[in-house]
Symmetry: C2
Subunit: 322 residues, 2 copies
């Protein structure tokens, strides 16, 4: 299950990462957590019902911070949840072992085991959407960190005195290359040079507030000069951040995904070119930089993989449930 | 053994990290690798000779890049070594299992098992000396990465357009807070404002080229205004870098060591204060920031710990040797 702020996916996934059945449903967060949980439980039941045998477990990737031990959602701003006992409630309702992780980490599991990271023991995923999140596989383990928040890769500082970030810091990679920051910069550029911003503004129906990263990427693909400059700034920021990650983690593979990358796939090549002079030769020697493969299914496939690759816990869960 | 560019330490270390005997010797790199190896082999033999029983193995921390499989030194600029079969040669000479790693990673082993990191499963060491190096323990394992270079923490970018770094990139944490960069900035500041630089220059015997990070730290402790401004800049850079590391890795503990920290220990507090507004609340919640404890012995204690904590390899080594 991929439980997002506005929509969710519930799917029956096999051990090879293949999706057998997939349901999409809106996440009606405004109705409160009980309603959201009841609706996803109903969706899981339907998927389980049509599968030819009961699932080994239920994996959940949720758009929020997760407590590693309890599987509770500590804080999920897009859902409006604080300390919501997600794992406990799903277990009670479904009578199945349940594994809860962050949505981005679930997507990392997916790309690692069934996507662009297959066969790699050390890799990093960076998902560039409205925000930027990531996940790290080190020595064949998905890093969790001390309080289960490892992988906040959007919030590495790349410009000490750079633009403010939604996190309260400044100069984070996300504050330049995240979707919301791209839109902010586009509006700023248009305001300071309306002539250069004409095409962008047209694409947004004349409304600066309607400008999104998607609009910028479309204009760049159409050759608009301002949009191309904006893309260049994004590539520079992603490359600086990627160089930091390569030097610090020394991954074999760096996987780039998310809406901004999907909107302008050439960014992968642009980042790779700019890493060359930025990362240490010994660190970048084994490195390949590629695009994510599972797209919107990474989270749901990864969540299922997480459940399947935690055999000890599954067994323990089964025993407790039976 | 801690094999440095100008001096080396060979010690008999027990399983509790206690040093029983310690020899210091100059590393006479200019005489070539054969001489260096012969001299350290002689020192190891002397230490072994006076120990009451033969050691389980020999751990080596060397100032250079190490090939994880062969234990060869791929590149050690301060020793002038390229592709030097260190492990192989030491094994042949000593008839003991040998484990070779990078000196900074050895120090991380030391601080983790016997220093400021005892009992922590997730921690980061940052050693701020002439350069900046580091090591990461994640889930009770010292990270190695894809090509054994994980932990180049001095070369995370904190200022996209910042000052040039010796690595070829610009704006690395090391390019602002490393000893060589501190000296560079001090010289620059003195040149642009000789009056403000008077005390610093005096402490360096009137020779700008004699200004080192140590001189800056001493002047700062004596209350010199320019030196204090320089220290502030260092604290800011270290805090920005530390925030990146905390957000990306989510360690329980951040350990700061090395000559610059030893020269101005208050930097630890200054970095901790500045992390507060920079790192994500969930990532910094469990974090403590402390000073390294083992000082110059971290490398030699850590190298020995590495050898003792690789039991399977030790056994294999013994069999092969016997």
């Amino acid at each position: 299950m991929d439980l997002g702020g506005t929509k969710s996916i519930v799917a029956h996934v096999d051990a090879l990462g293949k999706i057998h059945r997939k349901l999409r449903l809106p996440t009606r967060a405004s109705r409160g957590p009980a309603t959201v949980k009841a609706e996803i439980v109903a969706a899981v039941r339907e998927v389980v019902h049509t599968a030819n045998r009961p699932p080994a477990g239920v994996g959940v990737g949720v758009a929020g911070q997760v407590d590693a031990r309890s599987g509770a959602v500590r804080f999920a701003p897009n859902l409006g949840w604080i300390d919501e006992p997600l794992k406990e409630d799903l277990k009670k309702a479904l009578k199945l072992p349940v594994f809860v992780t962050n949505d981005v980490r679930a997507a990392t599991w997916g790309e690692w085991l069934h996507g662009a990271g297959r066969g790699y023991d050390d890799l990093i995923c960076v998902f560039v959407g409205t925000g930027i999140g990531g996940g790290v596989v080190s020595g064949r383990r998905v890093m969790t960190g001390c309080s289960n928040t490892a992988g906040e890769l959007g919030h590495i500082t790349i410009d000490l005195n750079g633009p403010s970030c939604r996190c309260g810091n400044r100069g984070c990679m996300e504050a330049i290359a995240g979707g919301w920051a791209i839109a902010r910069q586009a509006r700023k550029s248009i305001a300071s040079d309306p002539k250069a911003g004409q095409i962008l503004l047209e694409k947004a129906g004349g409304e600066p507030e309607q400008i999104t990263a998607k609009v910028v990427m479309e204009a760049a693909k159409a050759g608009d000069a301002l949009a191309l400059r904006l893309v260049d700034r994004i590539a520079q920021a992603l490359a600086a951040g990627a160089a930091s990650l390569v030097n610090a983690f020394n991954p074999c593979r760096l996987i780039l995904g998310g809406g901004v990358i999907e909107g302008y796939p050439e960014l992968v090549k642009r980042v790779a070119e700019r890493i060359e002079p930025r990362a240490l030769p010994a660190a970048r020697a084994p490195l390949t930089i590629v695009r994510a493969q599972l797209h919107n299914n990474a989270g749901v496939i990864g969540a299922a993989s997480l459940a399947m690759h935690s055999p000890a816990k599954v067994l323990k869960g089964k025993r407790r449930e039976s």
